[in-house]
Symmetry: C2
Subunit: 167 residues, 2 copies
């Protein structure tokens, strides 16, 4: 992010229908523990903590962000990196890149492919979750015009949020 200013970025939500921060029970850690066991992956303390933190995010979070929210010394950075790879491979988290060199992740509910995009403020890094994709037609055109298959896309929007438009 061009970022440094941290003001108003903390819990700022703009149009966040399916915000991940649910009550705490449903769609929570146990659901994911289940999924892990099903693939003979172990439900460890580290993973539960990570999933727990992920489940209360409303926007993609960085590895370091997860680490910072974990009780100090609760889990090593390397473990988080390894966990994210595992979870990503199992389709339990989705990776996003905002172009600032760090990967960000969002938890995926069962059956959700998590496909959506973001609008990021280049001034304060506030994130708006976008729910429409509207790229279906374009993507189909790619397939037809160039003979590619399994076509996907990465798309993120950037701009100045209302509060950062000082001039």
């Amino acid at each position: 992010m061009s970022g440094d200013c941290d003001h108003h970025c903390g819990g700022h939500h703009e149009g966040l229908p399916s915000c991940g921060a649910q009550k705490g029970t449903r769609g929570g850690v146990p659901e994911f523990a289940e999924r892990l066991r099903k693939k003979s992956r172990r439900v460890t303390g580290a993973r539960k903590s990570i999933l727990d933190i992920l489940s209360r995010q409303s926007h993609p979070i960085t590895i370091r962000g997860i680490h910072d929210q974990l009780p100090k010394g609760d889990c090593d950075l390397a473990t988080i990196y390894r966990s994210m790879h595992l979870l990503e491979g199992m389709g339990m988290v989705k990776r996003y890149e905002f172009g600032d060199g760090q990967a960000r992740f969002e938890l995926l509910r069962e059956g959700d492919d998590g496909h959506h995009h973001h609008l990021v403020c280049t001034g304060c890094a506030v994130v708006v979750e976008l729910h429409e994709c509207g790229m279906g037609e374009l993507e189909a055109r790619m397939v037809l015009s160039h003979g590619f298959t399994r076509v996907t896309h990465k798309l993120e929007f950037f701009g100045l949020c209302p509060r950062c438009q000082g001039g």
Copy 2:
């Protein structure tokens, strides 16, 4: 890139209307030297070499890619990194990210904002230059719905090219 296989990726072009590899004169280094001088930036040997290499690419190229094409010892990696920052800041090159951790660059002609996207094969990394953007409407909606200004977007497509669809 998932990449390792280098076969057929070398000079493979698929639909490349405004391919950067022009005859050699027009839109070449001198045009850019001009732009550099105009902003009291010096036209050095390193920059000329870099611009020259950039001008003969048909797809975005990495820093290392540029370095490898430069006569050995002709220019330090750090210099290329610094040059790319300068050129990017002057609007003479555009940065792209294919999600493999390395930035890629394309030269921009005067007046061209270079806005376009790519279709990258996840199998062999072959790149197709896309000339339609078609995001104008979506972008405008972002602006209206969320009050952002100066909205831009980063968009790249990924998929399996015809030659990599073995199964």
